[in-house]
Symmetry: C2
Subunit: 332 residues, 2 copies
């Protein structure tokens, strides 16, 4: 099967939102008047972002999900994306499953595949995604990393740490019961981009970022970009680990009893979570709760923004904790 | 050097056109009112699109050039691009040279790097480029593959075949004098995206494509998308090979005497040329000449569009030639 057949068979669809979709030198996109385009690009590499034997359907899902998560963190509404794909071979079953997972998530978010590239080479998936953000009276409604202000509450959505738990188990670092692994693995392989929450937080949150490199590492970006510091209740973050509650209940069957310290490391530095970490003024607590409700996304308050730079971690008793939770770095 | 240092040191610049550039979850771009966005994405893989020992400065140039060439083929004005980069290691000398070549071409076209991704992995460069095309009275001014009409002239810009000649020599298929290789290699490693010509052809050309997979292969896309056929003077295309004139003069020193058939194969199926192949009505010949002049780009008329489907190749004496010139396919 040649390159052009491959594109046509698995990825070409009639243009809907785009003025012109897959199949010319460029795709053409006409943004809605009065909006800015939010653009993000992520590259996924085998052996680094996913295992060679990963289910291609979940891989297709995740490749787009991590990009949609960037749109969510900006409060942008998904519009379209391009896909560039390096493949060791044109394996039809793999391609059918990959494009199936990818396009199912795309359809769920009405995000249209408008172009891209395919080539031979070590497996590599590069998606660039486009979303829209309204501009009101010359003011962009995008959520940025730079808007956190002293006094703001700090929140995290959904669950963090589970993806890392699954990764560690799959790497053989420890064993957990099958049902714990299944729950954690779903978070690793099919993360839910928090697009609806991001949209609901426009005009409510003062800053936002998506948690991809680890909660503390990504919080560091907000603090640095905003020129502020924070105090964070580390053990509140632990409660955000889905498998924590699960394994506490199921701890009788557990091969490894995790210490509080191990749970902290998972929650604070796990990475690959694709949750939203955001700040909002205290007087917006009801609005944050309403946004969580409207988007059907759990949200947890885990700290406060302060004028003094730096991050102060507290345990459940309010005692200071040393911050030795390294964040994920692709070159570390 | 960590991932974030790497981005900051070699790729981060203050946002100019973009409302927000490198360093948030998304870049924000506000297209000019009354324009459409033209978007293209290309992925370059080591060992397939370039040699492992290629000069990183020319690689940076080429990675962006092939994307700008897609904008040129649409008649779009370059605006911005994202860069996703998988690197085996964070080699500072390599990165400095690569970003130098990339950003020099970007600056020449006022095309701003607004975001992207870096990761470890087998060397892979994925650029997504954004350009603007005006919309007049609801009508896009983009040049498409689908607009060729019977009676139109067929043109190709610049030179074709030289990149393939250089590739074949570098692969050891044959030898040529050093000065011939140097000329051909410049076309392989630092192609010139025909952006100015593409802009000048808006409202003049009826269809356009950039020659990346080979002249005949890319002509096939125009014919198919436009529902037409063509007759082409194959030996006029040969005259477009820069090194043809050169090597004809220097043929005394030549290790291999090329047959006409070999020259034809280079011109018609060479690939990697990044020239514009386009059509225009015969009454636009003066306008095409003016566009070539204004953009300082040589343009050659090499055929005619006809209603009968298929491609008819003629030699210099007007005799039919069999078309056995296969086009490049990344999975062939």
């Amino acid at each position: 099967m040649g390159e052009f057949d491959l594109i046509a068979r698995y990825f070409k669809r009639p243009a809907r939102r785009a003025a012109l979709g897959v199949g010319d030198d460029c795709a053409l996109l006409a943004p809605t008047p009065g909006t800015q385009l939010a653009i993000s690009s992520d590259m996924l590499v085998q052996g680094r972002h996913f295992f060679a034997d990963v289910d291609p359907r979940t891989l297709g899902h995740k490749a787009l999900a991590v990009n949609l998560s960037d749109l969510a963190a900006c409060g942008a509404k998904p519009l379209a994306f391009t896909l560039a794909l390096a493949l060791p071979s044109a394996d039809e079953a793999w391609l059918a499953a990959f494009s199936g997972g990818l396009l199912a998530l795309a359809d769920a978010h009405e995000c249209e595949l408008i172009g891209g590239d395919t080539t031979g080479g070590p497996l590599n998936i590069c998606i660039t995604v486009f979303g829209e953000v309204p501009v009101h009276h010359g003011q962009s409604q995008a959520l940025l990393r730079s808007g956190a202000r002293p006094g703001d509450d700090l929140y995290v959505s959904g669950t963090v740490g589970d993806a890392r738990l699954a990764l560690d188990v799959l790497l053989g670092k420890y064993a957990v019961p099958a049902e714990v692994l299944a729950a954690a693995r779903a978070r690793l392989e099919t993360p839910t981009p928090r697009v609806a929450l991001g949209l609901a937080l426009r005009g409510v949150a003062t800053s936002a970022i998506d948690v991809s490199d680890g909660l503390l590492g990504d919080l560091g970006h907000i603090l640095e970009c905003s020129g502020v510091g924070a105090t964070m209740q580390a053990d509140d973050a632990i409660k955000s680990i889905a498998t924590h509650a699960f394994t506490t209940r199921a701890s009788g069957q557990f091969d490894v009893k995790f210490s509080t310290e191990q749970w902290r490391a998972l929650a604070l530095a796990g990475g690959d979570d694709y949750e939203l970490l955001f700040t909002a003024p205290t007087q917006q607590r009801a609005a944050v709760a309403a946004a969580a409700q409207a988007s059907q996304t759990p949200v947890r308050r885990i700290g406060q923004i302060e004028p003094e730079p730096g991050l102060r971690l507290l345990d459940a008793q309010g005692r200071p904790l040393p911050n030795h939770y390294a964040s994920f770095d692709h070159f570390a």
